[in-house]
């Protein structure tokens, strides 16, 4: 079904690129539309980028086509109109109401294409008192309530600011959120024939990550203070107290979470039942939680003797939730990811190839276009799609 869908992608932020990438993997024909003499706000323009950043953009654009249109003349406008009228979906992050952009605004396009599903990514939505505010991965992450929970040990909270997550997680999450809404809108169109306009506020997409915290607020709870150094790595990665922690190993770290009593009993067995483990204060989950700092020190005496993989494997052999704290290099070598052929080979123009992440779902029936054609050059498909170069 997706191979019959034509998608126009107009925009340069990671959310739009990622949403387009997922649609391309699902089999849709995704066409990147770029304009001559019409400025589109760009987060990730490939100019002056490092090789890694250029290849990252190539990975985001794999499987897509690209046209480049000069909007200053009638021919260009006609080309755009034709594309718009023959499309099923438009995804864009172009919010600003510049006159040049009005040709692909929803209010214009819906006049001639009633079945169109239009998806707009913006920082705070286009309604309300912050609709003109600008936002980036950094600023939206900070505002969304996610940052204070991220930081590990802080010794001087007045000097060390909250930090956002790396890897543009907010942008990826927004792109994914847009794709979810879009899939629902397409499903409704299958039934009713009606298209529609869908808007993603990236701020809300990030806030939605904190729904447990929001529920706590609704029930009169308080927000946790920023963790100070005293809680050590026990709190890293959202794990607190006896629920789990990150512990030093001979060659790095290991993350463990023997939170249930039976898991804890097996963990104690694994450590060879040290004397301290029989102390009354560690006998219940609440006791372990209360005394987690001492516990962390005591467990660390044992974990430091072994490698992170040894601990993780012997823990998992006893059905204890534990994993090595991996680097990306470890990840690329991981037998589980490789067994499942998770990574995809992306061919490079010089003949080499790079491994890039695939998708986390294996579908038993629906074909996917995972590898796709290499990222297109700007305007590469003008002849095919517009009939002229």
């Amino acid at each position: 079904m997706f191979n019959k869908l034509k998608v126009l992608e107009i925009g340069h932020d990671i959310s739009t690129l990622y949403c387009g990438r997922i649609l391309s993997i699902m089999g849709a024909e995704v066409i990147k539309v770029e304009f001559v003499r019409c400025e589109i706000p760009s987060d990730v323009s490939p100019k002056n980028r490092s090789e890694s950043q250029k290849e990252f953009l190539a990975a985001m654009n794999g499987g897509k086509k690209a046209v480049r249109i000069d909007l200053s003349g009638d021919n260009g406008k006609r080309d755009v109109q034709n594309l718009l009228n023959n499309s099923d979906i438009i995804i864009t992050n172009v919010v600003e109401g510049k006159e040049q952009h009005s040709i692909f605004s929803y209010s214009e396009v819906k006049q001639t294409n009633k079945g169109l599903v239009y998806l707009l990514f913006s920082a705070f939505g286009t309604r309300g008192r912050r609709s003109k505010w600008k936002g980036t991965d950094l600023t939206l992450f900070h505002m969304s309530g996610n940052a204070p929970g991220l930081i590990g040990p802080v010794s001087e909270p007045q000097k060390e600011p909250p930090v956002r997550a790396g890897g543009y997680q907010g942008e990826f999450l927004s792109g994914l959120t847009g794709c979810t809404a879009l899939m629902m809108a397409i499903f409704r169109r299958n039934i009713t024939g009606a298209g529609g306009y869908v808007e993603i506020s990236k701020y809300e997409a990030l806030v939605n990550q904190t729904i447990a915290g929001l529920a706590n607020m609704a029930f009169g709870g308080s927000a946790p203070e920023r963790d100070l150094e005293k809680v050590k790595e026990a709190s890293v990665g959202g794990m607190v107290g006896a629920i789990g922690g990150v512990l030093p190993a001979k060659d790095g770290y290991v993350a463990i979470s023997p939170r249930e009593d039976d898991q804890w009993d097996r963990w104690v067995q694994l450590m060879g039942e040290p004397e301290w483990s029989r102390e009354e204060r560690f006998s219940s989950r609440s006791g372990r939680e209360e005394n987690h700092e001492e516990l962390w020190d005591l467990i660390a005496l044992w974990t430091k003797k072994f490698s992170k993989h040894e601990i993780a494997q012997s823990g998992q052999d006893k059905h204890i939730p534990c994993f090595p704290v991996n680097t990306v290099e470890d990840l690329l070598a991981d037998e589980q990811f490789n067994h499942r052929d998770f990574f995809i080979d992306m061919n490079l123009t010089d003949g080499g190839s790079l491994r890039i992440p695939g998708v986390p779902y294996k579908l038993s029936r629906m074909p996917m276009n995972l590898v796709g054609s290499p990222a297109p050059e700007s305007g590469q498909h003008n002849l095919e799609l517009l009939g002229h170069s």
């Binding site: 990252f56 991965d137 950094l138 309530g145 997680q169 704290v325 029936r365």
Partner: protein
Amino acid sequence: MRLPLDGIRVLDLSWIIAGPTATRLLAIMGAEVVKIGSSRRPDPSYSGPAFHSYNQSKHYASINIASEQGVEIVRTLASLSDVVIENFATGVIERRGLGYQELRKLNPSIIMISSSGVGHTGPKKDHVAYGSLLQHYTGWNSQSGYPGGTPIKGGLWADPWVGMELAMVIATCLNYRASSGEGQYVDFSMAEALVGSMAMSVIHQQITGQPLLPQGNEDYFDLHSGVYPCEGDDRWVSLSVRSLEQWRSLCDLVGALEFKSENPKNTLSKRGANNFISNWTRQHSDLEATEALQSLGIASAPSWNVYHVYQDDFLKESNYLVETETNDGETRFMPGVPWWFDDGLTPNVKAAPKLGRDNRLIFRDLLGIEDKEYLGLVKSKVLE
């Protein structure tokens, strides 16, 4: 206005966080979600506030699926459903006789999605996992932290992220079924969901042979960015400068005139300008600073915790936070969905149920179990 998933029934055998946050989105968008639970094996979040957001707008029926009759009832429910979702440890659902191969015999076009920590194939398929551990296993957390610091800080929380991706895949499969008539089985790996967004780190490692170090509050795609202290205790403002014009406006605002014509990427200019910026931000509240910067066209926002987010009226105005009567009879603002359809569609944001609240609706009305049999099932603890 019709909700997109009106008429779709989802049998929800998932629990804890990732699965429930997915079916929550489906329920709010119109699907009839039938969550199955048992007092013998309560959902770990059941007694806390989070349950009220993870399970909004669902039906909740109590069935002991460790019993043969319980399994039989679940099989009948599956035969009447469009989608089944589960996140038991690998192999559990098959041992109970509820695997995809069994369910498709009853309902050939069923969509079944099985989510687990690392997927249902491979040498680690039986590994016991929690989302927070997978954030470490995948290197996801290694991307975050202060520049130059130890890269073992956290990332975004895995579970609700996975919930969003599960909902996306389910909606995709519904689309595929609408055109092909075919259901299917989905093997979903939470760990892979995290790595799905790690293209930049994965590519950098291969090209340079080195890990992409945490950039903290700096940004590859900004000319200048940072987080600065504001008036008050532990209050901060973030900003991103994307053009030289914005840089010049910022220098004017904070009085850093000598850096106005300098390259913001130059380390010395950056350090010098940062002193001016901090001196200025310290004299303002986080929101005052944000508003002043936004009025110059510079992306900026306070760095908030969830209390600040909730207290700010903006999310109520945008209808993300929706006034709901929760199942204790109180009225509260609860989270809705992070999207907006402009055609008058009102998301179905309702309270999370109590366990067993919908037993009558599901067992008598939907399955047609007679009163006498129903009472027998309660007595024999099949429904509990």
